[in-house]
């Protein structure tokens, strides 16, 4: 019953996220013909400096379909949406007052706090996996519709990278939910952290090849075909550490 309740609690968020991600994937695919028409024009744009460099880079990437998908969808919309929904799924844990639920009622049931949190985390992660993989699988499915093809393996790999990296934000939000009892603070803090990290990564773009959003968008895989093992491993470790801390925090709390 705990599983069912967890599902009920996060069902709306999950479905909204799934729809948005699928729509944005489809939108990107079906916009490709438009982009093709605009391409010749783009190459003639005269812009200097950083902006110019970026436009030229964007044009270069978009010159093939795979690059287009990666640069236009995975690097931006997909990672942003996934991060947002990872945080949303992790906020408002089973003990928060947000949904009109009672912590005392849950705590009076014969289920240990660890089990309750565990079920909540597992449900959330399963939902996140679905959010990461299903929209990606629409790519190989729909690309023939615009006369292109996209490798299902690529889609799957990107989906998994997205999941593992986004799971870090999910775990962060879940941890914050055990510390703060309301819905908003975990949400805002986790989003704040995400924004700070992305700015930091953007600033260090030249120097460093590390960064959680790099892992999330699967940049290394896209460019070199190699999986970002270090990044994946760090994400998994960070998630595990945060979930463990969440369990310990919850176990010690007074209600």
């Amino acid at each position: 019953m705990l599983w069912y309740k967890s599902w009920l609690d996060t069902r709306s968020r999950f479905l909204v996220g799934l729809v948005l991600l699928v729509l944005s994937a489809c939108g990107t695919v079906f916009y490709y013909p438009q982009v093709l028409k605009l391409m010749p024009m783009a190459s003639t744009i005269e812009a200097s400096g950083d902006l110019g460099r970026r436009i030229r880079e964007g044009v270069a990437l978009a010159s093939n379909y795979r690059g287009y998908i990666w640069s236009q969808w995975m690097r931006q919309a997909m990672t942003n949406l996934a991060t947002l929904f990872a945080v949303l799924l992790g906020s408002g844990g089973l003990f928060s007052r947000a949904s009109g639920d009672s912590a005392l009622f849950t705590l009076s049931l014969p289920a240990s706090r660890t089990r309750v949190l565990g079920v909540r985390a597992a449900t959330g992660l399963a939902q996140l996996l679905a959010l990461a993989v299903i929209p990606a699988l629409f790519l190989p499915l729909l690309s023939p519709g615009v006369g292109q093809s996209y490798s299902p393996t690529d889609a799957l790999v990107h989906g998994v990278c997205l999941f593992v990296a986004a799971a870090t934000f999910f775990s962060l939000a879940l941890l914050l939910s055990t510390v703060f009892t309301d819905l908003w603070r975990p949400l805002l803090i986790a989003c704040g952290v995400a924004i700070a990290l992305s700015l930091y990564e953007a600033a260090l773009r030249g120097q460093s090849t590390y960064g959680i959003f790099r892992v999330m968008s699967g940049e290394d895989y896209f460019r070199t075909g190699r999986l970002p093992w270090l990044g994946l491993f760090s994400s998994v470790t960070a998630s595990a550490a945060m979930l463990f801390t969440a369990t310990r925090t919850l176990a010690r709390q007074d209600f």
């Binding site: 009672s102 009622f105 240990s112 660890t114 007074d254």
Partner: protein
């Protein structure tokens, strides 16, 4: 069976930041009794209950339910499997309907009694399809009671079950409690600051004051051993230093000296005769008086 203690705490202490909610609370509740836990607001009733159910952890001291340690996770789950609880605010899941929350709760208890569930659904006239948040306070309380009763629990812990209820619903709730207990070997531990209802249905009482149990025992015994000795003098009443044990409070009002005793009147009468009163009388004392005199502090 009457010899076994369902609830037992020893020198229980709980500190929240710089507030001592419990200062050495020792309590014993034998199996099969209906025990009233009386105390003023803030005396420590809810804190004690939360500790018994594993919702809060004691700073020090021991708390055992069914002989299991209440402050450790696995025993606490075992305790909750055999305990029904109604919180002070009748906490439930607002978003579910009556039917849904009954099914949800039932799933956690292998010994769920469907017969009791059906009986109380009918008796309390709870509408299956209505959302919990749309229920009146009285109906919420009844639903919470139904969920507590139907799990086939050996112990019921009720935190101020009748608070905020009108007299009719209060009587219905008390009747449901008595009716349920009468048919099963269940212990009831309920906190209250309504003395009348403790008087009515409890056979044991524990008065908690400022984090400690001040008075405890079978109601019958308390009614027998507590008494007031009233003495009238022909001059202003003296300020006696009564050495008899069991003196709870001494009051002087003009020529009348009144002594509340928890150990019978004999010792006091003996000492008092030496003071030469004009008349003495021994008066029975109600639970209300015992409570008020125990918890009112004139510092």
């Amino acid at each position: 069976m009457a010899d076994s203690l369902v609830i037992e705490t020893a020198d229980l202490r709980k500190r929240y930041d710089d507030v001592e909610a419990l200062c050495g609370l020792s309590l014993q509740v034998p199996a099969g009794s209906i025990c009233g836990f009386l105390g003023r607001n803030g005396a420590g009733k809810t804190t004690t209950i939360k500790i018994l159910l594993g919702m809060a952890r004691p700073t020090s001291g021991q708390a055992r339910v069914f002989g299991l340690a209440a402050d450790r996770p696995e025993p606490s789950v075992a305790i909750r499997r055999r305990t029904g609880f109604v919180s002070e605010d009748k906490d439930l899941y607002d978003g579910m309907t009556v039917e849904e929350i009954v099914r949800y709760t039932a799933a956690f208890y292998p010994h769920w009694r469907v017969d009791l569930e059906q009986r109380y659904l009918r008796k309390f006239e709870l509408p299956s399809g209505r959302k919990v948040k749309a229920l009146s306070r009285g109906m919420r309380t009844k639903l919470a009671l139904l969920l507590a009763f139907s799990r086939g629990a050996e112990l019921l812990i009720l935190d101020e079950p009748t608070s905020g209820l009108d007299p009719v619903v209060t009587e219905e709730v008390l009747q449901a409690i008595v009716g349920h207990v009468a048919g099963a070997a269940t212990t009831v531990f309920f906190s209250s600051h309504q003395i009348a209802e403790v008087d009515q249905i409890a056979d044991r009482v524990a008065i908690v004051d400022r984090g400690r149990v001040a008075v405890a025992g079978a109601l019958e015994d308390l009614r027998e051993t507590y008494c007031r000795v009233q003495m009238v003098f022909d001059r202003d009443a003296p300020e006696p230093a009564l050495r008899t044990p069991g003196v709870v409070r001494t009051r002087r009002d003009g020529r009348v000296l009144s002594v509340l005793s928890s150990a019978g009147p004999e010792g006091i009468l003996d000492e008092a005769r030496a003071l030469g009163p004009v008349s003495t009388e021994v008066v029975a004392v109600t639970l209300k008086e015992i409570f008020l005199e125990t918890v009112r502090h004139e510092d």
